[in-house]
Structure formats: structure tokens, C-alpha cells
Amino acid sequence: MNSHWLRQALFGSTLAAACSAWLALMVLAALAGPALSPWDPQAINWDALENPPSSSHWLGTDMVGRDLLTRIMLGARVSLSVALIATAVSVIIGIPYGTLAGYLGGRADQLMMRIVDTLYALPFILIVILLVVVFGRSPLLLFAALGAVFWLDIARIVRGQTLRIRESDYIAAARIQGAGPVRILIRHLIPNVLGPAVVYATLTVPGVILAESFISFLGLGVQEPDTSWGVLIADGALNMESAPWALVFPALALAATVWSLNMLGDRLRDQLDVQAARV
């Protein structure tokens, strides 16, 4: 895969470039923002309770006087890292599962995909909530639980890809040379499904961000004094009549990020389809 189509997908139109820029800004804010801000994200300030946006607090303050912009940047750190790690988990489960199913084919494939279909129908958020409640609210567990939910899509896509390339000449050539199934899987199949898997993973990230916010909103995810976009939205919703900005700005950050990711994910997928059609 050359990098031209990647550039095309990420910067090919004004809108796409804006989305990429927004995501870059969010990542930067998550990494460096809290350190750059003059405000301590945890310090309670009794003189600035529920201040509207102003020149000193650009996005206003929350109900205990903490600077909202700093809190949002801190929340970005948690929300984005949960999303990235959970997506990585889902890719790590989904790729081997999908390639194996596609490679084995026949009954084994049918059974493995039947399991995926069945899991699709589970009330998964409930099980994630249970996991979190049962094993304590460690963020690590949240990553794992969410990743364990989101691998299904990746597995499906990867299986489809594997079915397509399984009959290729180079796989046949490898087999004739005496490569065993494990070698074919690791050396030939997995590297070739990696591209599509990563593209679909970009479409997984927004799903995980939303799921995390859902769980944190219920008070089951990230705990004070740590924060995430879900926690900020929950706090904002509590006092939205007196301080609507505390709901609106975190919601905007979340929505714009999810929207940008969806947008770029769609473009990447379309480009990938074009590439596939060309081959």
C-alpha cells in the first residue's frame, strides 16, 4: 500500500483536512494541554463557582470553580487513551480470530462466525457494566472489557479479507514450498489483512469513546478527581439550568471528535474499496 491514498483520505478535501486538524488538536490537548494551562484542573476555587466563559476562564468554570477548558483537556486524555487501548485490544483479538476462521474455512469457519453472530446479539453494555461493578473500577479493566466487546466487527471484516486472499497465488506458492498453516497465517495472511483491519479500527474508536462516556455517565467508569468526557457531561447535565456551558462544551468536544473520526473512517474505507476495485 502506498501512502498516496492515505493522504487523499485524510487531507483530500477541506472537510477531511478540518477533521484531521481537529483530531490532531485533541491529541495535542490531551498530551500537553493540562500542563500548559495556568489552572489546576483539581483545585476547587470558591471565588469562581459556575463562572460563564470569560477571558480568564475561556470555557467557564464548573460547579466547584474548576476551569472547564483544563478539565476538558484532562478528560480528552482519559477518553482518547481508553479508546485507543480498547481498540488495540479489539484488533489483537479480532485479527487472529478472523484470519483463522477465514483460513480454515468450511465447518470450523461456520462455527466461528456463528459464535460471532451470537455474541452480536448479547446485551453487551450490561455485561461491561457488570464486569466493571464486579471487579472494581480499574481503568485497565474498562479497556479490556470494551475491547472484548468491540472485536466482533474486526473479526468479521478480517475474515472476509482472508477469504479473498486465501486462494491467491502467493499463498499457494507458500504452501507448495512447505509452509505450515501457522507460518502462512503469521507471515502471509495477517500482514495482508492488517490494512483493512486498521481502517475498520478507526471506525471502532468513536464507538469506544461513546461507550466509555455511557459508562462514566452512569458513575461506573472513571472516578473523581480523574475525569473523562462522559464524567464532564454527567456533571454538566446535573446543573445545566444554571451553567449550560458545562454541558455544552464537553458535549461539543465529544461530538466533534466522534464526528471527525467517523468522517475520516468512512473516507479511509471508501479509498480502501477503490484500491481493492483497482486490484
Binding site: 451470537t118 446485551p123 453494555i125 452512569l218 447535565a237 445545566m240 461530538a255
Partner: protein, 306 residues
């Protein structure tokens, strides 16, 4: 067809059993039990409670007990809400959760299909761009954002609808709308792509060449085929809408079963958590089964294969 159905039914039952087993052991694995409150009970009392609720027996025994109880249609007593059985609690909350879920599903289907068809028939036009642009925004705004905003605008500022609680159908409108928004968007996207693709099929060209009226072509030749992907999306969507009601019930203070779930899980109220999961799972599985049956009836390839 019968073979297809019986395999489907068997798989549904197995899935149900897997869910029950998974949740049962997950709960028992958890540290803490239903009887450790703020005040420690005297050991004798706690022991008696354990005996009364069969918690003194070995785990496999408890599991078999639970399964046999379930087989008799009994969900057991609630460990925390002393005077209620789980069945009573579920029956009191279920109509509320179902009303919200079904209303949201109806909004999602009608809204999504109408918008998606409209956009799909006009691909590349301004209308299409506008509808899909809005749909993409809808996908990015979860219920936890939409619900408080809707409550703020329609209940607090405009005062048109109640902000929470329970009463006539108007009490379900805001929760259902908040819940359905992302699904309207998802179904619109799905329908649009599918309609646009179906329009390219040769049989549509034939129908147009015969000079059939446009409405007729859309209704009898395009939509039945174009809506197949939507049909298969209803299963996961229904699951997400039902479980999504957990959040909406919290925000709008609706006494549905979703609200029990989180509280019961935190309290280690084993039987109540199991009861809620079982009811949700039963509905979702039943729904998926129905969708599969409809799909098999509509798509001859599935019908013929088995």
C-alpha cells in the same frame, strides 16, 4: 425452512444459557456479598440469611438450584428489597422500559427509512448532502448529550413536555426521542446506500422501461430489496435501544428495569441483576429470532439453502 428455524431456535436457547451462566458466575466471583451493608450483621444472623437464600451451599449446587428455579419460571426473591420477589420488581418496571424502547425503535425506523430513502433517491443533490450531513451529526451525539439538552429545551425552557417521571404517553416522548436519534441516523445511512445501490439493478431499469409510475417502482421494486439490510440491523439496534434505556431512565427518572440494574449490581443483589439480564436477553434474543424468520421469508436464497 423448518430445519433453518429449528437450528435458529436451538442456537437461541444455547445463547440464552450462555448468558445466564456467564452472569451467574461473574456475580459470584465478585468480592463482597449481598449482606455486607454499612452495619455488620452478627455472624449467626448472616449465616441464617445465607441458609434462607441457599447461599451456604457449594457454588455448583447453587447454580443448579438457580437453573431449576428458572426452569419453573421463578426468578427468586430480591436479596435487598426484602418484601419483593424479582418477578414483581421486573413486572412493575418492564412496561416502562418496553414503552420507551419500542417507541424509540419506531421513531428510528420510520425516521431513518424515510430520510434514507429520500436521500438515496436523490444521491449527489443538495438534499442528499443535507440529510446525510445531519445524519452524521446524529451519529456523533449520544443519548447522554441529547437527553439533557432535550429536557432543557422542551421541558425547562418551553415547558411543552414533562422533564421526568411517569404518566401518559407524553412522558415517554422525550426519552424515546433522545434514545432514538443515533439510530435514526444509522438507519438513514444504511437505507440511503442500499436504495442507491438497488436503483442500479437491471430489474429497476426494466420496470422503468415498462413505464411503471415512479411511486410504484419505489414501493414494490426498490424498497422490498433495499430494506433487507435494515431488517438485519434491527436486531442489534433493538439490543442497543433496550440497554440504552438504562441511561435514559436515569436521566428522566423513569421507573423502568434499567434503573434497577446498576443499583442491584452495586448492591450485589444477585437475583435482581440476574432477573434484569434475563429479561433483557430474552427480549433481544426473541427479537433476533423474529428478524431472522422475516429475513428468511423475504430472501429466497436463505429459504432455499436449507
Amino acid at each position: 425452512m423448518t430445519r433453518y428455524l429449528s437450528i435458529r431456535l436451538l442456537l437461541t436457547l444455547i445463547t440464552f444459557w450462555v448468558i445466564v451462566t456467564l452472569v451467574f458466575f461473574l456475580l459470584r466471583l465478585a468480592p463482597g456479598g449481598p449482606f455486607d451493608g454499612e452495619r455488620r450483621l452478627p455472624p449467626e444472623v448472616e449465616q441464617n440469611l445465607r441458609v434462607a437464600y441457599n447461599l451456604d451451599q457449594p457454588l455448583p449446587r447453587q447454580y443448579l438450584n438457580y437453573l431449576s428455579m428458572l426452569g419453573h419460571g421463578d426468578l427468586g426473591p430480591s436479596f435487598k428489597q426484602k418484601d419483593f420477589s424479582v418477578a414483581e420488581l421486573v413486572i412493575s418496571g418492564l412496561p416502562v422500559s418496553l414503552a420507551v424502547g419500542v417507541m424509540a425503535l419506531l421513531i428510528a425506523l420510520t425516521g431513518g427509512i424515510a430520510l434514507g430513502t429520500w436521500a438515496g433517491l436523490n444521491t449527489g443533490t443538495k438534499t442528499d448532502l443535507l440529510i446525510m450531513g445531519t445524519a452524521n451529526i446524529g451519529l456523533a451525539v449520544p443519548a447522554i448529550v441529547v437527553a439533557p439538552l432535550l429536557a432543557l429545551v422542551f421541558a425547562v425552557w418551553l415547558g411543552w413536555l414533562p422533564a421526568g417521571g411517569i404518566g401518559g404517553p407524553q412522558y415517554f416522548l422525550l426519552p424515546a426521542a433522545a434514545l432514538s436519534l443515533p439510530f435514526v441516523a444509522a438507519i438513514a445511512r444504511l437505507t440511503r446506500g442500499s436504495v442507491a445501490e438497488t436503483l442500479q439493478e437491471p430489474h429497476i431499469t426494466t420496470a422503468m422501461a415498462k413505464g411503471l409510475p415512479r411511486r410504484r417502482i419505489i414501493r414494490y421494486h426498490v424498497l422490498p430489496i433495499a430494506l433487507l439490510p435494515v431488517l438485519s440491523y434491527i436486531g442489534p439496534a433493538a439490543a442497543a435501544l433496550l440497554t440504552g434505556s438504562v441511561v435514559v431512565e436515569q436521566i428522566f427518572e423513569l421507573p423502568g428495569i434499567g434503573r434497577y440494574f446498576v443499583q442491584a449490581a452495586l448492591n450485589r443483589d444477585y437475583t435482581l441483576v440476574m432477573g434484569v439480564v434475563i429479561v433483557y436477553a430474552a427480549f433481544i434474543l426473541l427479537f433476533n429470532l423474529l428478524v431472522d424468520v422475516c429475513y428468511a421469508r423475504l430472501d429466497p436464497r436463505i429459504r432455499l439453502r436449507s
